[in-house]
């Protein structure tokens, strides 16, 4: 792959798993982020975190489709759609036009309006049929009328396109946690990062006239606390932590819940892996969506991930029970006798979660109807 800098993986990588199946589209993550980092003048249109309804929704509007269209149809080398397939198409770096580092586009101002456009708006599997084909039933294995919520933050990519794009080298990746930052002193607002980030997560501040992006809530992560958008997730779909960046190391450290989910169980997949940036936010794909759409969005691991998800063993159920049980970053987990236990970096027990809720019966003077 063509990337302007030599690979230099961080020691630990900021990463998260988003369980799309559980997302309720409530935007609590969105407001938690907004109220922390982007409430000032010049940031009115700016949402570092957003949740959009697929397929019509997007912030900025139609961001993913526009780039897919530019990139053109691509292929995974294996027809089976399984993990282990090799991408045989072009990444955004290989598809870069002459004089550019990567393929991209700069959204127009109006595309940053209406961040929740087409919320809760489904499509039909075959849009040729048109809206007259009114559907009276959907039924698994795949819904024929469908939408789902896609949760989006900066992916703190291993090969960030924004970083590659920056003419001033004002964007860097922290070695200690892999968080990608735009230096607010050095940035001059050329907006190349906005143009080339395939996820459109750097944004332009109209008042300071420089670019900004998600900072991974490093003031929290540095304290061993998960990012705001993660901690706020009331649908309990998000788990964030620090994983090993190299797959081999991640596999060797299976006690880490993120390594376990991403590298051992392979239940969570990167968003648009074909872009080539190696994003570090991983998604458990939605179970009801037509597979072909999921392959396009999450790559060839979809079948295996969903197989694991729908035949859950006790250990995996335990790890999923740890999602949002605590705000502290969990470095280790342990599942036994209907309990999931999480530990911090020092090995201290942080949380103990019963996998089943108990039913408690009090003496008869305590009525259920009063």
């Amino acid at each position: 792959m063509d990337y302007p800098y030599e690979e230099a993986r961080p020691k630990r990588q900021y990463a998260a798993v988003f369980n799309v199946n559980k997302c309720i589209g409530c935007q609590t993550c969105t407001m938690s982020c907004k109220s922390t980092w982007t409430y000032s003048k010049g940031q009115e249109h700016m949402w570092w975190n957003n949740v959009e309804t697929k397929p019509y929704g997007g912030y900025p509007q139609f961001w993913d489709h526009k780039l897919l269209e530019k990139l053109g149809p691509n292929k995974w080398s294996s027809a089976t759609g399984q993990n282990g397939s090799v991408y045989s198409g072009k990444t955004i770096f290989e598809a870069a036009p002459i004089g550019e580092v990567a393929l991209g586009y700069l959204p127009e101002d109006k595309e940053w309006q209406s961040p929740n456009i087409y919320e809760d708006t489904p499509t039909t599997t075959d849009p040729d049929k048109g809206p007259d084909e009114s559907v009276d039933l959907v039924n698994l294995p795949a819904h024929t009328t469908w939408f789902f919520y896609l949760q989006r933050i900066c992916n703190h990519c291993t090969h960030p396109a924004c970083l590659a794009a920056c003419p001033r080298k004002a964007i860097y990746k922290r070695q200690e946690d892999g968080i990608v930052l735009i230096d607010q002193n050095r940035c001059r607002g050329y907006r190349k990062c906005i143009e080339l980030c395939p996820y459109k997560k750097p944004m332009y501040n109209l008042a300071t006239r420089i670019s900004e992006k998600c900072i991974g809530c490093y003031p929290r992560v540095e304290q061993g606390i998960e990012a705001r958008c993660m901690a706020a997730c009331v649908g309990k779909i998000r788990l964030q932590g620090l994983k090993n960046s190299l797959p081999e190391e991640a596999e060797a450290n299976a006690e880490n819940p993120l390594n376990y989910l991403i590298h051992i169980k392979k239940i969570a997949l990167p968003l648009y892996p074909q872009y080539g940036t190696e994003p570090n936010i991983y998604y458990i794909p939605p179970r009801w969506i037509p597979k072909q759409f999921l392959y396009q969005m999450f790559g060839p691991g979809v079948d295996e991930a969903l197989k694991v998800y729908s035949n859950m063993d006790e250990e995996l159920l335990g790890v999923l029970s740890l999602f949002r049980s605590t705000q502290k970053i969990l470095e280790k987990f342990n599942i036994n006798s209907n309990q999931a236990v999480g530990y911090d970096a020092k090995g201290q027990e942080v949380i103990r979660v019963p996998i089943d809720e108990p039913v408690i019966v009090r003496p008869p003077k305590y009525h259920n109807t009063s």
Binding site: Y118, K169, K173, P364, N368
Partner: protein, 1188 residues
């Protein structure tokens, strides 16, 4: 450029940088200087040299202190939130992750599975607390102030001149607290005085109020004063304090009429839950209790969960995870809604249904269950009235006394006290004492002997002996087994009655078999549009999934759970839907066990969780208040003289349902126990009562003209402030200067907050809600010289409100033993001590063989009372809705001879919706399907759905920019398009092909109208006042949404409706903002014109106004008949409307100098939008940008 080398990359970027530098040189001189510094970053993946700047974000994130408070909008969650403070300002909010620390007196704790609680509204609440729309000081409406200053002049009938009544048009004027408090006290006295006694009655009569309403007042003018605690449980002190105030007014009545203690009456207090259309009105008809809601961690147990017109994903956000987690544990979810909803996407299957036809679907399911014999015979016999015999001749349940000469009713002993009390107070004191002593463990109901005698004992047909046998209310569960009977469920029998007749009788089960025969799946499919095969599948899936351990699904100990929601509750026959859903659950034994039952939860209505514990606070004896702070709450003297009233009647032109029927002449359909009084003062807190009222413009333009004083307590300038006379500004939830408490109908947490000496001081000149009331009471003392008014609020005025909280805790089974100070100090939630965690309704009944709170002690699917028989509703039966139907309005779909409705002579071609409410005609479906609603004929052919949004809680957050931006397709913080009323605007979702057929593009503006005869308000057609005409007709933007089947439009409910002032501003201000401006503040309409309540009207459902329905009291364990506030009363039904849609204006931006739009809204021209997809978009949807 081919392969990019590092060297080449650096060179290329250097050139770009130089080019851009010139631009910034002029814009930002300082930057230019910095640009000159050499760049020395080699590989930014590996090392970055200048990281000191990172402290910018660390500083931004730092805070000085934090505190917790409770976010208590009208949802059911009560999330405890933590606020972070810097320089005295709340920076941001976070969830506490503290739920698992909550415990009870027995050592039980909640689990971390509850973490975290708090949604987007909690996070954006900072935006409300510091919002420029906050109320900053008391305000009085200009015209009202003039009226008061003129000495409250009226004509001889007590009517106030028109010039003083320009609500919605007048400015709101700042007045000092002292003056506002005094004005409100004087206003109360003026009205109470004016309408007291015979002269008062004469005036009301002259004003046209019916005699029934006037005589209900018993001469007390105070009875025209209406107080509404807006979802009282959300603030038991500060909001329910409103009822306390109302009770205190018996002192005022005594003063005015010269009557003594006992005779003097307080004010009236209004319901919440029923009027919102929230109550499951059929649940008290089946179970005797208000609702059957469970704590939401119980949603972790069902093997099968069905959502009927319910959207838990969008509307139970902190607790939605519980049910979604069952999917990861092997559970299944089905959704029955017209549209493919946010909850539908999670489902194993979703079935579309015609709006308002759900009862037919569930009758079809009962049909399948009975026909295929997949019901739980044991459960049916042990816990339901289905084995009881019903008489053919009079449609009454057969009684033991009917067939046994001189039969004496048996003594009832099972979890019941059959006892007479001299007065209601004596009974309440008995209950309160039973809580204190723990004797409450022995009974769950108190029945007056007279009622018990009236009910009698019941008869079933025993197959073992082939004889009719007696069973009593006691004989449920194990106690029924002890009788060793085997009741017939099927068959027809004859019994000889004591008066010498041979009477045909049938078990109720047999009758339901007959009735549901007309609801075979094919017919149900025809009625409901539900997919034919799925009707049978749904029935079988319910029958298959019953409570109990299944080794295949070891985490799911529940069975089938059904949740019905507002989607189905907002239709006129909402009670039938509850009766039939309870029926299919009872048929399959899905009751009273973990992960079973029928849930509902709408709004945090359930102050009954505190039960009789509320009395010392709400209805303390004002003649002799307990001034000793150490008294046990259970011993505080009470004298309940505040009388509950259903707010639906105000909404129904301030009238009960009285009709001139062709058959009988004048008929009163509102039961005596329900009868409202004329409304002359409305005083309310914590709710935008008027903005959110169905038939909003009828209320502001017509009904409220007859009201002399409207007082609202609010923390934001909302449309309700413009619609009121006096506005008291109150502290936000984060600015509490005194503690309050709340609990919930959907979680086990008891919240009392804030911890002393935490929080931020009030930002503006505001007070706590209950402090406002206490200070008005003090004014009444000042004016009358009677110390008792002020004494009634002694501990509020002394800043010791915790004394009152402790009294509530003392008196309540679920909290007795808790210490308020310890709870406050602990700074977290505690557990309500229900019988079970999670709270499971029906638990005692099913697991311990206790009778339900009904007359038979069983779940009742038959209603023998005359009101039900007259209206053809003795059985749970499907009726078309009175307005929202293509077919004949309100028709009963049945031919069964035991359904004997009275049509009151209302003709079949009537176009009078008032009369149609009582026109009861039965017809077979084959005939119904050939009839047509007169409105349908006139072109009103869209059902109008108005569900709740996730971005607001009803009208709360309507003016928070961030929330508005996420609530629609038309958001723009910069408002490039000046037509937007605010930073976004309200939208109607519409099926794209419907829109295209009407030449409506995605993003266009449309007019939406409902029945012209009475909407937006009666006489609208002849309205002369242009500003009202414009303000009340709905204009709204269309969003294409294929989730909605053809024939349905949907707009989310309760944003701010337009007023003449917002329309005027929108049309005259250069920025186009639809703003209502007063010297006291501003608010924005979310519409350019009208509002969604332009389309709605009020209805009164006759079987919800009976004097005969047996039900438990809302608070405590007493069982009685007829009206019970928020339990048995009419539920308004805002989805009961059909509408027309027509294009109003192009969605595209206006051209320069124009105000009207031109062309298509720009996103709809991209090819990326629904029903306007380009080839490329189709490819994307099909996933063709990757080939696998």
């Amino acid at each position: 450029m081919g392969k990019v080398t590092r060297r080449g990359f650096v060179k290329a970027t250097a050139a770009t940088a130089a080019g851009a530098a010139a631009v910034f040189y002029f814009g930002w001189a300082e930057s230019a200087v910095r640009l000159l510094e050499p760049v020395s970053v080699e590989n930014p993946l590996e090392f970055y040299p200048e990281r000191d700047w990172e402290k910018v974000y660390r500083d931004m994130y730092s805070h000085d202190s934090d505190f917790t408070f409770c976010c208590v909008p009208n949802d059911t969650h009560n999330c405890r939130l933590r606020a972070y403070v810097k320089n005295g300002i709340i920076l941001r909010i976070e969830q506490t992750y503290g739920e698992s620390q909550s415990k009870d007196l027995l050592g039980n704790t909640a689990t971390p599975n509850w973490h975290p609680r708090g949604c987007l509204k909690g996070y954006s609440i900072v935006r409300r607390i510091y919002n420029p729309h906050r109320l900053k000081y008391p305000m009085v409406r200009k015209g009202w102030l003039e009226w008061a200053n003129a000495g409250f002049p009226t004509d001889s009938n007590g009517v106030v001149a028109e010039k003083y009544k320009k609500r919605g048009e007048d400015d709101m004027i700042r007045v000092p607290w002292n003056e506002a408090l005094e004005l409100s006290a004087k206003g109360l006295m003026h009205v109470a005085n004016k309408y007291s006694g015979d002269t008062g009655a004469q005036k009301l009569k002259a004003q046209g109020y019916p005699e029934e309403m006037i005589s209900t007042m018993k001469g007390a003018g105070t009875q025209t004063l209406k107080f509404r605690p807006g979802m009282g449980l959300l603030g038991v002190i500060r909001i329910i304090g409103n009822i306390r105030f109302s009770n205190m007014l018996q002192l005022l009545d005594a003063k005015i009429r010269g009557v003594g203690k006992g005779e003097a009456l307080g004010g009236r207090y209004w319901s919440n839950y029923t009027w919102h259309g929230d109550l499951d009105p059929g649940t008290p008809m089946v179970t005797g209790v208000q609702t059957f809601d469970m704590d939401q961690n119980d949603l972790r147990f069902p093997k099968f969960l069905i959502q009927v017109g319910k959207n838990l994903v969008e509307n139970k956000m902190p607790d939605a995870h519980w049910f979604i987690e069952t999917l990861e544990r092997g559970g299944k979810v089905a959704v029955v809604t017209p549209e493919y909803s946010p909850t539908s996407q999670k489902a194993d299957y979703w079935m579309s249904i015609r709006p308002g036809s759900d009862v037919a679907l569930f009758l079809g399911i009962a049909n399948v269950m009975m026909r295929e014999k997949i019901y739980d015979e044991d459960f049916v016999k042990r816990f339901t009235d289905l084995p009881l015999l019903v008489r053919a001749d009079n449609l009454q349940l057969l009684r033991a006394s009917d067939i046994t000469p001189d039969y004496k009713n048996k003594e009832l002993k099972n979890w019941v006290k059959v006892q007479d009390f001299e007065s209601k107070i004596e009974k309440l004191n008995f209950e309160r004492n039973a809580v204190k002593t723990g004797e409450i463990a022995n009974f769950g109901a108190i029945i007056p002997p007279k009622l018990r005698e009236k009910w009698g004992d019941f008869i079933l047909w025993d197959k073992k002996t082939n004889q009719p046998k007696v069973i009593t209310r006691d004989d449920v569960g194990d106690r029924f087994d002890d009788l060793d009977l085997n009741p017939a469920l099927e068959g027809t029998f004859t019994v000889s009655t004591v008066d010498g007749k041979e009477v045909e009788v049938k078990p109720l089960f047999q009758l339901y078999m007959e009735i549901t025969e007309e609801y075979d799946p094919a017919t149900v499919h025809d009625i409901t549009d539900v997919n034919l095969e799925m009707i049978t599948r749904l029935a079988r899936d319910i029958a298959k999934n019953t409570p109990g351990f299944d080794p295949e699904k070891p985490h799911l100990i529940g069975g089938t759970m059904i949740h019905s929601g507002e989607g189905v509750n907002h239709y006129f026959h909402n009670d039938q839907k509850d009766r039939v859903i309870h029926l299919v659950l009872a048929l399959t034994g899905n009751v009273g066990k973990p992960g079973s039952n029928k849930g509902q939860w709408a709004g945090n209505y359930k102050h009954s969780v505190f039960g009789v514990g509320l009395y010392p606070w709400v209805q303390e004896d004002p003649w002799n208040p307990a001034l000793n702070e150490d008294i046990d709450g259970a011993d505080v003297p009470i004298l309940p003289k505040a009388i509950g009233e259903e707010v639906c009647y105000w909404n129904y032109n301030d009238r009960p349902l009285i009709l001139d029927t062709p058959k009988y002449g004048r008929e009163v359909f509102t039961g005596k126990s329900h009868m409202p009084t004329p409304t002359k003062v409305i005083w309310y807190a914590n709710v935008n009562l008027i903005n959110n009222a169905k038939w909003h413009y009828q209320m502001v333009r017509k009904v409220n003209k007859n009201i002399d004083m409207i007082v609202t307590q609010n923390w934001e300038f909302s449309p309700d402030c413009d619609a009121a006379d006096i506005v008291f500004p109150v502290n936000s939830w984060a600015e509490f200067t005194q503690p309050d408490l709340t609990a919930s109908c959907s979680n086990p947490f008891l919240q009392i907050w804030p911890k002393p000496n935490t929080g931020i001081p009030p930002i503006f000149d505001t007070k706590m809600d209950h402090v406002v009331l206490a200070e008005v009471a003090k004014k009444l003392t000042d004016i009358t010289g009677d110390e008792r008014f002020a004494n009634y609020w002694k501990f509020v005025l002394e800043d010791k409100t915790d004394v009152y909280i402790q009294r509530i805790l003392d008196g309540c089974t679920t909290t007795r033993g808790y210490n308020v100070k310890e709870i406050l100090e602990s700074d977290r939630e505690w557990l309500m001590m229900f019988r079970t965690y999670p709270r499971i309704p029906g638990w005692e009944q099913i697991n311990e063989s206790r009778p339900f709170h009904t007359k038979t002690g069983r779940m009742e699917f038959y209603r023998e009372e005359k009101e039900f028989i007259n209206h053809g509703e003795n059985f749970a039966i499907f009726r078309e809705q009175p307005e929202a139907t293509p077919y004949m309005n309100n028709v009963i779909v049945s031919t069964h001879s035991w359904i004997t409705p009275d049509d009151y002579g209302v003709p079949r071609n009537s176009e009078d919706l008032e009369a149609i409410q009582v026109r009861n005609i039965k017809m077979p479906w084959s005939e119904v399907k050939n009839t047509e609603n007169f409105l349908w004929k006139e072109g009103y052919r869209f059902y109008c759905l108005t569900p709740k949004t996730r971005h607001r809680v009803h009208s709360s957050w309507s003016n928070v920019d961030w929330n508005v931006i996420w609530d629609n397709n038309f958001a723009d913080p910069h408002r490039e398009d000046k037509r937007k009323p605010y930073v976004g605007e309200h939208q109607v979702n519409m099926n794209p092909s419907d829109a295209k057929n009407l030449n409506i593009n995605d993003g266009d503006y449309v007019y939406i109208d409902a029945n012209w005869r009475d909407r937006p308000y009666t006489d609208y057609a002849s309205e002369k006042d242009e500003k009202w005409k414009k303000a009340s007709r709905l204009m709204i933007r269309v969003k294409y949404n294929p989730a909605f089947p053809s024939g349905i439009v949907m707009m989310k409910h309760s944003v701010y409706q337009s007023s003449p002032k917002t329309v005027h501003a929108h049309e005259t201000r250069p920025d186009g903002l639809a703003m209502s401006e007063s010297p006291g503040g501003i608010w924005f309409s979310n519409f350019r014109y009208g509002g969604h309540q332009s389309l709605t009207r009020a209805y009164l459902q006759p079987t919800q106004m009976t004097d005969s329905l047996v039900r438990k009291d809302t608070w405590g364990w007493g069982i009685g008949e007829g009206f019970a506030i928020d339990t048995h009363a009419p539920n308004t039904c805002p989805k009961e409307c059909l509408v027309k849609v027509e294009k109003a204006e192009d969605g595209g931006m206006p051209e320069d100098g124009e105000t009207r739009g031109k062309g298509v809204w720009s996103p709809a021209k991209t090819g990326f939008t629904p029903s306007n997809e380009s080839e490329s978009m189709k490819k994307y949807i099909k996933g063709e940008y990757i080939q696998s």
